[in-house]
């Protein structure tokens, strides 16, 4: 009885090993199953998800106009102080003073891509971009000014 159990044990053990070996041999011989993506080489064919949260950007139209009113809703919504809105006062054609942004400073190094600033923005001035290659040599390069040089607020955005 002991001998039979002993042999059974060896047989079942060896069988389980052979099953595993067969599976790995399958992958060894089937190179179609390889899933490696050769990243920097496949940049051209890389498909990023439309909603991928890479960094916050402020879209500008062809007249260098954006939609930001400088209401600081995004600054308040941000959990880590990533966004700083620096405002100034512009003179409207009617001669009134109007609040506008001087700089919208964005610290990419602090951002957790939580999307709260985008949902908080009442005028859809900022959105998430799909870029993801953010590495730079100096931390200060990660601090960005989102509005372009000399840009204005779009007409009709309040």
């Amino acid at each position: 009885m002991f001998i039979i159990n002993y042999i059974k044990e060896i047989y079942s053990g060896l069988k389980s090993l052979v099953v595993g070996l067969r599976r790995t041999l399958f992958y060894f011989t089937h190179h179609k199953e390889i899933i490696t993506e050769q990243y920097p080489d496949n940049r051209a064919t890389l498909n990023l998800a439309q909603r991928f949260k890479g960094e916050v950007v402020m879209p500008h139209d062809e007249n260098n106009e954006h939609r930001c009113t400088g209401c600081t809703a995004c600054e308040l919504a941000c959990p880590n102080g990533t966004i700083k809105v620096i405002t100034k006062f512009d003179l409207t054609p009617e001669g009134k003073k109007k609040k506008a942004i001087d700089k919208l400073v964005y610290h990419l190094e602090l951002c957790t891509m939580c999307n709260l600033c985008i949902t908080a923005c009442p005028s859809d001035a900022i959105k998430m971009a799909q870029t993801f290659e953010h590495s730079v040599y100096d931390r200060s390069q990660l601090t960005k000014v989102l509005n372009f040089e000399g840009s204005k607020i779009m007409d009709g955005v309040e």
């Binding site: 389980s16 090993l17 899933i35 919504a77």
Partner: protein, 371 residues
């Protein structure tokens, strides 16, 4: 460690496992006392990745603090976020639309599968089989892509808001999830071939790190660790939240209490998660994905506790509110912290190789323990 300290009087030697060690999956530091190869004592030293999230949350508003919790148990970040959102909703009595509930549960279960996939690969790698790690990542990658499509991120999804979810499901979501289910069912058999059935693996796992039911309860273990000892503790079943009471699924239970029982529970949990997803994927109700909430959330004065079942066990969040926009005190009850406290009890008398198997079967995520 200084030479004098490294040797105890009984001729035992003291070894530092970690903070940088291949088996601790992070910066866990265990000081183990060895007699030959046999473990006499395991003493965890924590805090290498302690960020004091509890203190941090005290200065964040109820919308903001959810995103910090993703950084605790990063493998089930969505479920952590879910717990926070549920707790805030409970306090403010926000009615969440049914569509949002279904979406949240779907995402929870996908996260659970992704987390268990990674654990499965890491578990096999701890025991010296490197191949399963890569195979597990293949399936996990598919889930990550589904997440990326809908949530816009792969690991820390930041998809939940109090009152619903951030965005509606991506149009391709249903098709991709169905494809994943087909793929998963084909590949899970391979998992059994490569790891579960393997005689070496079974011998390494069986009767290793045995935790009796009474001990497991006393140590406050939860999730697969407690269920492996035969105690029913699935929060989804016992204290159902969202729509879990309407769903059909079994709670995986094993009675052996050893590492292999915990392993089998996780494998079966993946199958149950697939079952839940199958029930929901064709029945996502139409409607709003977000309830209307006020611009500034204020929790009424009082104390709120919410627990959910993450991939590692029972995650609890305890909010003490003074009625302001920020919580007065937040406590996260993380499953890993309690599970880790049982490690010393389990490991005594085992070999170093057993310690690795036990840590693997506890599925420790260090930021979750340190918080």
């Amino acid at each position: 460690m200084v030479e004098e300290l490294s040797r105890t009087e009984e001729g035992n030697i003291i070894i530092n496992v970690g903070p940088q060690h291949p088996a601790t999956h992070g910066v866990l530091h265990l000081v183990i006392t060895l007699h030959g190869e046999t473990i006499q004592k395991v003493e965890p030293h924590l805090g290498y990745i302690h960020r004091s999230i509890e203190k941090m949350c005290e200065s964040l508003t109820y919308r903001q603090f959810i995103y910090v919790t993703s950084r605790m148990d990063y493998l089930s970040s969505h479920i952590n976020n879910h717990a926070c959102a549920l707790c805030v909703e409970k306090g403010m009595q926000i009615e969440v639309p049914e569509r949002a509930q279904v979406i949240r549960v779907l995402m929870d279960e996908l996260t659970r599968i992704a987390s268990h996939e990674l654990w499965w690969g890491a578990m096999a790698m701890d025991l010296g089989a490197f191949t399963p790690f890569f195979h597990a990542f293949r399936e996990r990658e598919v889930i990550n892509e589904i997440m990326e499509d809908t949530c816009g991120a792969r690991l820390t999804m930041n998809y939940i808001l109090p009152g619903g979810v951030l965005e509606d499901l991506h149009p391709s979501f249903q098709k991709k999830v169905k494809d994943f289910i087909v793929l998963y069912k084909r590949k899970i058999a391979e998992y059994d071939e490569m790891v579960t059935g393997n005689i070496i693996f079974q011998n390494r796992m069986k009767n290793v790190g045995v935790l009796s039911a009474a001990d497991a309860i006393s140590f406050g273990c939860s999730g697969p660790t407690l269920r492996g000892s035969g105690v029913s503790c699935d929060v989804r079943k016992i204290y159902p939240y969202e729509i879990y009471n309407k769903l059909e699924f079994n709670e995986a239970l094993e009675t052996a209490g050893d590492s292999f029982a915990r392993y089998m529970i996780r494998i079966r949990e993946m199958n149950e998660s697939i079952r839940i997803i199958e029930q929901l994927i064709d029945n996502i109700p139409e409607g709003e994905f977000q309830a209307k909430t006020k611009a500034v959330l204020k929790l009424p004065k009082g104390e709120f506790y919410q627990r959910v079942e993450t991939a590692r066990g029972e995650f609890g969040i305890y909010i003490v509110s003074e009625g302001g926009t920020t919580p007065y005190r937040i406590k996260f009850r993380s499953p890993g912290f309690s599970n880790l406290s049982a490690l010393d009890h389990m490991a005594r008398g085992g070999k170093i190789g057993d310690l690795v198997a036990m840590m693997g079967s506890l599925d420790l995520v260090i930021p979750d323990i340190d918080r």
